[in-house]
């Protein structure tokens, strides 16, 4: 038979032994136990070998077919780094159009959040202690400025409690003595409240330069303004003008690293453990 022929080809020793032994019916000799054991061992070995070969073949076949199936099912690895596949994203295609045409094509603006309303101060309401914003001009429109006052300690009423920790500048370095709703630049020009960044930039030109290049103050929105606008804060959104030093903070979020943190006792999320 063809199949058994193959098996015999695979196991020549055993088949030879059988061909020799089968016709014989001679009486046992002293060597026979050894031969018996040997032949039995060979027979077992053959069966095991065949089984192993079959197993290997089966595993190989399964593995190969699985690999192919898996390759087909897992496109990200196979395709994405070998091809410049076009995206399914309409936005990205739009961007590609931009790219192919003009690298510096139309862009969305950088939108800076300017301070709104009138320059003012937060005071506690005399009746219910709530914080109320009062425009500077509310009082200062009717009062004559005293140019000799340099700091809050010089004042006899109002603002004594205001802590100013901003170098050695005086109140009127920034506040305009004739219009307390505005600022005064170093050259005496009046500056609207909403343009406060220009005031700060007189001294902090390095920060302003960084800011203009997107390297100070942070931002949200788009790094590439061909896709959308960029939103930025102004100076006094982050820095209190009278105490501009950035405040201390307390980190509240801590990842738990497996080898740094003590082991968690309850592991509700890991049913496998």
């Amino acid at each position: 038979m063809f199949l058994s022929g193959i098996v015999q080809l695979i196991t020549p020793q055993n088949s030879a032994a059988r061909e020799v032994s089968l016709p014989s019916r001679s009486p046992p000799t002293v060597k026979s136990p050894v031969n018996h054991a040997t032949r039995s061992g060979i027979s077992t070995l053959t069966t095991l070998t065949t089984a192993a070969l079959v197993a290997v073949a089966l595993v190989t076949a399964w593995h190969v077919s699985w690999m192919w199936d898996a390759r087909l099912a897992t496109e990200g690895s196979g395709s994405s780094h070998q091809s410049g596949a076009t995206s399914a994203l309409p936005r990205q295609e739009r961007r590609d159009d931009h790219r192919s045409g003009d690298r510096h094509g139309p862009v969305f603006p950088i939108e800076i959040r300017h301070p709104q309303g009138d320059l003012g101060i937060l005071v506690s309401h005399p009746h219910d202690e709530t914080a109320v914003r009062v425009a500077c001009a509310t009082c200062h429109a009717t009062r004559q400025p005293d140019l000799s006052n340099r700091a809050t300690a010089d004042l006899t009423e109002f603002h004594q409690m205001t802590v100013v920790d901003h170098g050695s500048i005086s109140c009127l370095s920034c506040h305009h003595p004739e219009d307390y709703g505005a600022f005064r630049l170093a050259d005496g020009q009046q500056l609207a409240y909403r343009d406060v960044m220009q005031l700060c930039a007189q001294c902090h030109s390095q920060q302003k330069r960084d800011y203009d290049h997107g390297v100070h103050g942070g931002m949200i929105g788009h790094w590439d303004r061909q896709f959308g606008p960029q939103y930025k804060h102004n100076c006094i959104d982050c820095h209190a003008p009278h105490q501009p030093k950035f405040p201390a903070m307390q980190a509240t979020f801590k990842p738990q690293d497996r080898f740094l943190a003590p082991p968690r006792n309850s592991r509700p999320h890991s049913p496998g453990h």
């Binding site: 016709p23 032949r39 087909l72």
Partner: protein, 330 residues
């Protein structure tokens, strides 16, 4: 085995061989049961082997003529069409729906032609508040049980740049006067050791510089975790658990889709955002403005401003990993 006749016959092997007689003896009916079982086993085994072999080589029958070996092998690493991809993304999305109860969309964001991303952190500004870690945690659908994040903010002693002596477990108001704070995440190396060691090519570097992981292709051997000198890779020890309401539904196949248990993950510069022109989540969350992100191929970009005007260094420069991630001081 227990057949007496069989053992008797077996016993004769030796003597017969030595004496060389009885060739003409009539064949006895011996070993009948044993032989038939053995034969049957052999036949069965051979048949199984043939079937398996046939199955293994079956694709060879479909080889067209006049095809080169390279072409032939290529066929089996099939590049998926967009339709194939959409099918897979929909399957993954429906699995997310089943397991987590959230409606998500999964997209394979491709690099923007001509763009290479780079990141920089101002160590003069960073005060260790850790908002970036939290933003990463939320944006990238990390496991809620471990507060996982791609970023670690290390508290470092002033005067040292050795990140191995930094600690991420500090618990006090920051900044401390004798410390500075250094966030460490994937440096998106141009010569990435993690990619080199991956035995299954489940991680690679894309054209815009981002080193990505195919979570479905990763086998979780963690070689890359060991190879990364920045401790930037994370292993999903546990199955990810997130309340449905907290799942970020805008997901990328190679970025923030929910990772299967037992796979590696890492910072991908929020590619599902940045490849659409948006800023990474960690940058938007930073209250100190210490983070700078942009296209290093654009000479006008803010990242190039940093490289040209600040005192810049890279972590563990001596290793030759060539990071796309920079640290600078004002």
């Amino acid at each position: 085995m227990t057949n007496p006749r069989r053992s008797e016959e077996n016993d004769q092997v030796g003597s017969e061989a030595t004496e060389g007689r009885s060739r003409s003896t009539q064949l006895p009916i011996v070993n009948q049961s044993g032989s038939s079982r053995r034969t049957a086993l052999k036949i069965a085994g051979a048949a199984l082997g043939l079937v398996a072999f046939g199955r293994a080589v079956a694709p060879m029958w479909s080889i067209p003529e006049n095809i080169s070996i390279a072409e032939f092998l290529q066929r089996h690493y099939k590049e998926l069409t967009d339709e194939d991809k959409q099918e897979i993304f929909q399957r993954l999305a429906s699995e997310t729906k089943t397991r987590y109860g959230a409606d998500v969309t999964i997209v394979d964001h491709r690099p923007i032609p001509g763009v290479k991303f780079a990141y920089a952190i101002n160590l003069s500004k960073c005060n260790g508040n850790g908002k970036c870690m939290e933003a990463c945690h939320r944006e990238n659908n990390h496991h809620r049980g471990t507060n996982q994040s791609y970023i670690r903010v290390l508290e470092m002693t002033k005067g040292s740049l050795d990140m191995e002596h930094g600690t991420s477990t500090y618990d006090h108001p920051t900044p401390q006067p004798d410390k500075y704070y250094m966030p460490v995440q994937c440096q998106q190396c141009d010569n990435p050791p993690c990619v080199t060691v991956c035995p299954v090519e489940a991680t690679w570097k894309e054209e815009d510089g981002i080193v990505v992981v195919d979570y479905n292709w990763c086998i979780g051997c963690r070689y890359c975790e060991a190879a990364c000198p920045y401790h930037a890779r994370r292993f999903n020890w546990e199955a990810v658990e997130i309340p449905a309401a907290e799942i970020n539904p805008e997901q990328g196949y190679l970025s923030n889709r929910i990772r299967p248990q037992g796979t590696m993950e890492k910072c991908h510069f929020c590619l599902h955002r940045t490849r659409q022109g948006r800023l990474p989540a960690c940058l938007e969350a930073c209250p100190t403005g210490a983070r700078v992100f942009g296209d290093i191929n654009d000479p006008e970009s803010s990242i190039n401003y940093v490289l040209k005007n600040k005192r810049v260094f890279v972590l563990k420069e001596e290793l030759g990993t060539r990071p796309s991630f920079f640290y600078f001081f004002d």
